[in-house]
Symmetry: C2
């Protein structure tokens, strides 16, 4: 009986690379929901997505081999949705709804592939850009980030022996499980995995998701990662992202249209999805401005996802607004998802308990927390603040302000224009770690 499976070993050697993204479902669920909307309402719009590394001290192009990056991106471009995946998307229910994806959309999706990319280097950073139809470029966001982040982890661990790696992962598991135990003390807490984009690696995200499933049971409400949701029979979670109001705003031709844009995309969304999917992401151009100008019907939506304000402060403002609009916050939902870890999750949960429904989208600190796990500090294992944002729509600059000036993206002159237009009321500058 061989200790080494010769066939498997030879087979492994025939791979030209160890792929990071092995399925087009290895993305965030909101991408698919938005994709259907883009495909239906904006089929001819072009949108450019660009990689932005906000952690300037980390010189990505020095840490990651360019050819390895190209190989991984090329591999992702070779992927198609498989038959089993298409059947699952068509047959599964999402947020309690069956057939959320139309047969026409699925027929188009079956032929989908990721479009081309442009890659160059400048000042130790990669310039990675995706140009083309919005309905194609949008799908690069998550795989591009996952590839960059996992290549960086791999580079950081290149010198480690098998034993040191064993201890590294043992410690990471022990650390993760101690978080599970803290969460267990609050059985009514609701948490989901939002950690795909900045994960340490795919296999580690899978471990973390399985740990949460076994560890906190029904408190674990799902994963934003569609592949992991399918494989583990979990709910796929997530609704929409900043790119919708950003592109909608970029496409406007005058101030009146710009003011209406954030609400127009919500109306479109409502028409398409409705129900539990009515989650407002209010901070694209500042939450205060959004609430100030919001029509009454926005208060009828299920909930808000404050994504850049400090969670307690941001939550309080939305609750106050609901009250002002005559709605009962206890029937509303707040989804927190910005830079959370166990301590902020529990503190926020205890603060709002009984006053509003809550859900927590736990991201980078779930799937990429290796601090203190390596035998000696390895800087390459610390997560960085990296995003892949829409930068242009039909040739016009796209901008995000958010409630935290450090999270603003876009052409500086255009950011200035948006700031003047929407105001910067209630902006809170906070350091951005991940």
């Amino acid at each position: 009986m061989p200790k080494t499976d010769i066939a498997r070993r030879v087979y492994n050697h025939t791979w030209k690379l160890d792929p990071i993204v092995r399925s087009l479902l290895d993305t965030d669920f909101y991408k698919l929901l938005m994709l259907q909307m883009i495909w239906q309402l904006y089929p001819d719009v072009d949108a450019t997505f660009s990689l932005i590394n906000r952690t300037k001290t980390v010189r990505l192009a020095d840490e990651i081999d360019e050819q390895e990056l190209r190989d991984q991106l090329d591999h992702a471009r070779g992927l198609r949705f498989t038959k089993k995946e298409m059947i699952w998307l068509a047959g599964n229910s999402f947020y309690g709804r069956t057939q959320i994806f139309s047969p026409e959309f699925l027929a188009w999706l079956a032929r989908f592939r990721l479009p081309e990319y442009e890659l160059s280097r400048r000042d130790g950073q990669f310039e990675l850009t995706f140009r083309g139809r919005w309905a194609e470029t949008t799908m690069w966001e998550i795989p591009a980030l996952a590839i960059i982040n996992e290549l960086r982890s791999r580079a950081a661990m290149k010198g480690l022996g098998p034993f040191t790696l064993d201890v590294l992962y043992a410690r990471a598991k022990a650390k993760m499980w101690s978080k599970v135990e803290q969460l267990r003390e609050h059985p009514n807490l609701r948490i989901s995995d939002f950690g795909t984009r900045r994960r340490h690696s795919f296999l580690w995200q899978r471990w973390c998701v399985e740990a949460l499933k076994e560890g906190i049971g029904s408190s674990f409400t799902g994963s934003s990662n569609v592949l992991l949701a399918m494989d583990n029979d979990l709910e796929a979670v997530g609704t929409n992202a900043h790119e919708l109001p950003m592109v909608a705003a970029a496409l406007t031709r005058n101030d009146r249209e710009l003011a209406a844009a954030p609400y127009k995309v919500l109306q479109d969304w409502n028409q398409l999805y409705g129900g539990n999917l009515l989650i407002v992401l209010p901070d694209a151009f500042g939450t205060a401005a959004f609430l100030r100008d919001a029509p009454d019907w926005v208060a009828d939506w299920t909930g808000f996802r404050p994504d850049s304000a400090p969670p307690i402060e941001g939550g309080e403002k939305i609750i106050a607004w609901w009250k002002k609009m005559g709605r009962d916050p206890r029937e509303k939902l707040l989804i927190f998802s910005d830079g959370l870890d166990v301590d902020t999750i529990i503190r926020t949960y205890c603060h709002f308990e009984g006053r509003v429904r809550m859900s927590f989208g736990w991201g980078t600190n779930l799937t990429n927390d290796f601090a203190g796990c390596a035998p000696t500090e390895i800087n390459g294992l610390n997560p960085i603040s990296i995003v892949c944002k829409v930068s242009e729509a039909n040739g016009r600059p796209a901008v995000k302000l958010s409630d935290n000036p450090r999270k603003a993206t876009g052409d500086p002159a255009e950011v200035e224009r948006y700031l003047k237009f929407f105001g910067s009321e209630d902006f809170v500058e906070q350091s951005v770690r991940v």
Copy 2:
């Protein structure tokens, strides 16, 4: 390419059990050194070994299935030294000496098998006894203890799912590695593995030994486990144990012979081995009595292994004695091996640094420390104080006093007689955890 290796899976199912002891080398090295001496000097002496569980609160016969225990003991009885093992014993050097085992002894050893056992149950405990020639029964001590301890671990983990087990071992690895990191801060510390008998399991001991080899490098001076020493090209360490003076004392016919017995075995040992193997185990009948009556040549031996006194107190007394005998302690060696963990090791090391050479034999707290690692406290994972001691020699009761009355073994009346004879000077009662 199959994910499951069907052949291996079927093969695994053909095992009637998962053997705990798979080699006769899976024992402590001192057993082989003592065995050669017993085979040469005491070939006709009978010695009975008995299992003693000092942790009475743990009802072993309730935790461990009797049939499983019999199956494991029977499996161990089926083992022989393999050809490769015999070649290694003959060709390897131990403590700098080649051919430490005579060809005649090795020829006898090649046919060796473990003798019969007697097993019954009383009051929730196993009565496990090995009767016969000393040169056969002595070899049961380590495998019997390893089997009992690993069966107990297995029983304790029976209800755990694969995920919980993953976290359990991840935590144990993280815990073990934090000990490695503490030890690393003292590069001149010398440590060896003495953890075979009360290990959590064979595979876990192997992991710990490999961790020490990678983690503290040359500070790791070897393993008492002969199989692990061979497999990992480490020094096999250990010299002699209490059974030598215990049997020698039991065989004496009068007080003059009894008083001389502890020194007589040392002379025999010196004749057979000499050099680096001249380590005195002084506490069989109390260290104070041993030192009081010791002939001058005992002070010429390389070192002492105080095995039941508190390490700092016990070490100071031996150093004082060396000085009194006109020897320089800085040329002498103290081997500590009783209930050590990282904190006691470092404290003792710092206390004696520069005044005496030291070595630490790290046992149960190295290979069986799972405290705080299980998702909920599992009592069956806490190590117990269990020994397998010689209880009779040629039908006469064998006794051990040690420096800690709680570690005394033997017929109570006989213990009383020995106490009167040797005195109980400097005895310190300490709780015995492992």
